[in-house]
């Protein structure tokens, strides 16, 4: 497929931004600067970036508890994300949402979600909204292999097909629901086959190849925008770290170190670097991007550290809208 150089460099930049952001979280979380839970996206960057590259700014996404990558790929500001995760009032949700509930409706981020599968009907509803308003918007709905067993996954995909809703369902199959491997939680190997159960197309994609994800999403988004209804994309990928920060041994308690190492060899960012260099991009250009992104992340931590906590009175505000 033909991708312009600027586009490919932007995808590289976004994947790096996610990677450095998440690696920084490992640090600050261990230092106790970040309260609550952190579910990191390291290793899965190509899925979020490839999908969002195929979306327009006005398109919408719903995300998961492992949502930092989606939010960054959709244009999220790392300062406001970091501040939100530190519980500061300068965060996207004024500190009231936290890592698992980051949202910015202006960027089209309907929201990350603390309930596995919780975003699936929300995305379906957002697609219904787009259809009723005739807005031309498409919704990308992220969820994992674990979520594909939730009842509401079945209900939502069925309804979306019946009503031909403009939604693309992206299953990030990283092979595990916390500690339970895919072989132990479902009898099928390719989640994409479930698409046939509802009458929508299902496609298996190499989730560690950002251009493959981009291409598959572009097709599915075009289908949706033409009014032909939803598609299920299954992006096969892997999370390098544990389910959450604090999950012992980075997940190697329930996964072999060999398995983790093998997937790290297939790093989506390293692979893309190799591709870009082969296409004639200079190493200096890539290094320049790495430096810029590293600085962004350092600035984000400083911003979050220097931001105030919300006033205590805010705990009881905004329970109801006016």
């Amino acid at each position: 497929m033909d991708i312009k150089l600027e586009e490919s460099l932007e995808m590289y930049r976004l994947m790096l931004r996610i990677r450095y952001f998440e690696e920084k979280i490992v640090e600050v979380y261990a230092q106790g600067l970040m309260p609550g839970l952190a579910h990191l996206y390291i290793g899965e960057e190509a899925v979020a970036v490839g999908v969002c590259a195929a979306l327009r700014p006005e398109d919408l996404i719903t995300s998961t508890h492992r949502g930092h990558g989606h939010c960054i790929a959709k244009g999220g500001d790392v300062k406001r994300m970091m501040a939100e995760m530190f519980g500061k009032s300068t965060g996207y949700c004024y500190g009231k949402g936290g890592s698992m509930h980051i949202s910015d409706i202006e960027l089209g981020i309907v929201g990350a979600n603390g309930v596995v599968g919780g975003g699936i009907p929300l995305a379906t509803g957002a697609a219904l909204s787009a259809q009723l308003r005739n807005s031309g918007q498409v919704v990308a709905c992220f969820f994992g292999d674990g979520a594909s067993n939730q009842g509401v996954f079945h209900e939502s995909l069925n309804l979306a097909t019946v009503w031909r809703l403009p939604v693309v369902y992206i299953c990030e199959n990283n092979g595990y629901g916390i500690s339970v491997s895919q072989e132990r939680h479902q009898a099928i190997k390719d989640i994409a086959v479930r698409a046939g159960a509802y009458g929508m197309p299902g496609v298996v994609v190499d989730g560690n190849d950002v251009e493959a994800v981009y291409e598959a999403t572009r097709e599915a988004v075009a289908r949706a925008r033409r009014g032909e209804g939803p598609t299920l994309l299954e992006c096969k990928t892997y999370r390098w770290r544990g389910h959450h920060e604090g999950d012992p041994n980075r997940g190697s308690r329930y996964r072999s170190r060999e398995e983790i190492a093998a997937w790290e060899e297939r790093c989506p960012i390293k692979n893309y670097e190799t591709k870009l260099l082969a296409r004639g991009v200079s190493p200096d250009r890539l290094e320049e991007i790495q430096k810029q992104v590293k600085k962004e992340i350092e600035d984000a931590v400083e911003y979050a550290n220097n931001s105030p906590f919300p006033a205590v009175e805010e705990a009881v505000s905004q329970v109801y809208a006016d």
Binding site: S103, L122, E155, Q318, A321
Partner: protein, 327 residues
């Protein structure tokens, strides 16, 4: 003014709001072709078309969740879950999503949706189709819960619910759909969170919800013949609760009976009683009495169903005990 049924009042309310605002649409099982299992949306499919009157598969979690997602992104859905018993299937979407997104987003997302549903006994539909679960919903900060008892209240409250920018659980009683009452011809709204004095009295306050308002009114006539006058307060909205009107009444009568069809333990009556004790303890001349459903699932056989929910005699007896100082 015209005499209309509760069903017709609801239909008028919804129709007026759909004509007024194109973002309003209805979705649920059998709301379209069938006109709603209780007839509330009869004629809507013909008038508004398939886009705005959506028959869904049997998928309560998706019904609630899709309504939530649509509400978060610019629409004003009125979703229906046929029986309140089935809202249990939709609980994640109602409690963890609809109720919480405004707060979790720091106020940047709104969820202007209505979830209409039907409650209560009387149709002999037994344990899984007869419950009163308003306490479940009322317990959740972020939800509003409404229970109209008359056609007049039903119309005014439903219009307000549709215009409210929060998720509103709108609970209709299945035995009230055929009830007739006076409804103005001109447009009117009833604000959420405002109770109504259904009957003035001096000797005892009776707070009653939904179908129990009708029962309390019947008890009032019996008691009047015995020289006891009761003041009936209908909260109309369960959350937010108009505790001020209840306390003002208690300050007048000094006695309180609370009656609701739901079983007593952890019911809405417990909340009302606790708040009255907190706010108006020294106005009370007697303990607060609750007349509530028994601690059982709802049985099928009519003689059994009637035995587990409050009736007119039980309400009258509770008032008499308080007024006469009996133990």
């Amino acid at each position: 003014m015209a005499l209309k049924t509760y069903r017709d009042a609801l239909r008028e309310a919804l129709r007026e709001e759909m004509l007024k605002d194109e973002r309003v649409f209805v979705m649920g099982e059998d709301v379209g072709v069938y006109g709603g299992i209780f007839g509330v949306t009869a004629g809507f499919l013909e008038e508004f078309g398939e886009a705005r009157v959506k028959d869904t598969p049997i998928s309560e979690a998706a019904i609630a969740g899709i309504a939530t997602g649509a509400a978060m992104t610019g629409m004003r859905p009125v979703a229906e879950i046929m029986f309140i018993d089935f809202t249990t299937i939709a609980m994640d979407q109602l409690v963890n999503q609809a109720a919480k997104w405004h707060y979790m987003s720091g106020g940047r997302i709104k969820v202007p949706m209505v979830l209409r549903t039907a409650t209560g006994t009387g149709r002999r539909t037994a344990a899984q189709h007869s419950q009163s679960l308003e306490a479940w919903h009322a317990h959740v900060p972020g939800l509003k819960v409404v229970m109209p008892s008359t056609p007049y209240d039903a119309k005014g409250l439903l219009k307000s619910a549709v215009r409210d920018n929060n998720p509103v659980v709108f609970i209709e009683h299945k035995m009230l759909y055929n009830e007739k009452g006076e409804v103005p011809e001109e447009e009117y709204l009833i604000p959420l969170g405002k109770a109504d004095i259904k009957r003035e009295g001096d000797d005892c306050t009776v707070v009653a919800t939904s179908l129990m308002v009708k029962r309390a009114l019947e008890a009032a006539d019996i008691l009047a013949g015995e020289g006891i006058s009761i003041e009936i307060v209908d909260p109309r909205t369960i959350r937010p609760l108009d505790i001020e009107t209840i306390c003002t009444s208690v300050s007048k009568t000094h006695r309180l009976v609370i009656v609701h069809e739901a079983n007593g333990f952890c019911g809405v009556g417990a909340e009302i009683a606790a708040q009255v004790v907190e706010k108006a303890f020294f106005e009370l001349d007697a303990p607060i009495a609750r007349v509530a459903g028994l601690e059982t699932p709802i049985p099928f056989s009519p003689i059994l169903e009637d035995a587990v929910v409050p009736n007119v005699n039980a309400i009258a007896a509770a008032v008499r005990r308080l007024v006469r100082g009996e133990q």
